[in-house]
Amino acid sequence: MSVDKTIRHVKALATGIKYLVSSKRMTLMYPDEIEEFPDGYRGMIKYNWDTCIKCGLCAMVCPADAMKMYISKEESEEGKKPVRRPGINYARCVFCGFCVAICPTNSLKFTKVHDVVYNTLEEQVYPPEKFREGVPKPQYKKKPKKMRAILDEERGLRYEPVE
């Protein structure tokens, strides 16, 4: 074996040992720790029933046909003509946020919720009445620690607890 090769072998081993002794981990221990996302994170969508003008642009722009206009029963019976309001199907949603961006009254807004478990496919469909109730709260067995990702020169990413 040449000298050069030996040196390179030793260097590789030394680097390995260096990381063994002083490791720079950036692991997030999900679900005991959960990440607090930055503002503007495109999570599940909340709907404001009162400000919505029922224009239907969100359903028109939706690339995955997740957002659809449903006939709102009570209002339709009251006004004696069909009133349509948006509802969302999270089984189809791709979280592109086009509906939020196109909403002319900001009636649709992002939340930071994204980790919700459903037992059936039907539960993932949110007709307007269910959509207005807001996004479901993620359920954890133990209350998780909220962590924020911080970029670090030494370690790349570092997670710090949020107060």
Binding site: K5, Y19, M26, P38, G40, C55, I102, E153, G156
Partner: protein
Amino acid sequence: MSLEERELEVLIGPQHPASGHMRMIAKIDGDIVVELRPNIGYVHRSVEKLAEAKKFLQIIPLVERPSLADTTANNLAYVMALEKLLGLEAPPRAQYLRTLLAEINRIHSHLYGLGIHGVMIGSSTAYMWCFGDREPFIELAQELTGARLSYSYIIPGGVRRELPSRFTEKVEKALRYMENRMKDYFNLYLNNPVTRARLEGVGVLSKEDAIRLGVAGPNLRASGVPYDVRKVEPYAAYPDIDFDIITEKVGDAFARVMVRVKEIQESIRIIRQVLKKMPEGPILHEKYIKAISPKMREYMKETGEVKFPGIFANLRIPAGEAISRVEGGRGEVIFHIISDGKMSPYRMRMVTPSFRNVILFEHLNRGVRVADIPAIYGSLDYFPPEADR
């Protein structure tokens, strides 16, 4: 025994042999590969045909899906073709933001390729490192766009978000981290004699063959052809940016790896310049800003989040044809859109770099040892969903 009697057919795949679903049909004689044919199409999702039934804006998330590790290139190329048909150009600040995201994306796309290659040749440390180091860059992109991979950030006439506060500082930290970390990559992986033995002189692609076969991206540059769309046909903010085309002479698997490693370093240089030279101004074309209600315009100013004008829901593109080219992480992405003035394209053609590189499987794997198949596969940074579309 004759060769025909000795020959054995080995099927590698189709259940996710490495970077996606594909099958390689190898004919081997002992340990030597006589012939290897790639069998593609397992993850064909008919993006081109689907596009004909979708409205123009709805195609943005669609074209991102095939190459999930490198979404910005497809997003940008598609929107550039639309803008050519619309006859408008995004304002300078939007062009810089596009470049910024494209380069962040290039870094984490290259790390993805290097990581997969690492684990293919048995270095799980390289895999873990690369995938871990993608994370700071994905975190940056997430802060800029709101999503980890499927950004849908670039829209006709501009981009969707303003730079977040203190973003430059954060980027600088991630870049410095990557630069320091690179030294350890060389010590542990790239200069490691084991890695070198697996990659050097394996799967040599000559310059002439690379040109003849129409190979794209880092694989082409590793064979000594200085071809990069960012230089040949500059787009976005690249005309103002000073950077070099990375080439290697040898054209073997190691050269292809080194091109990616050096391109990460070059991208770091580009990102620094982009952030330094970033001009002030709007991030959406004024034609569309005018179409947004005054109240929403106020909201846009406050939050830096672009609202879509109502016309985006049923965006009509003037009849005509447009071709756009973008240098993505894996190579040249081409979009050809034919519009007949309706709300959906008449035809959309999408040429992805992986599709152009798939021919190398057959070309490079002749006469190599079986253990070299993963070493060559990984070095091509081939991504089946991208090739199948």
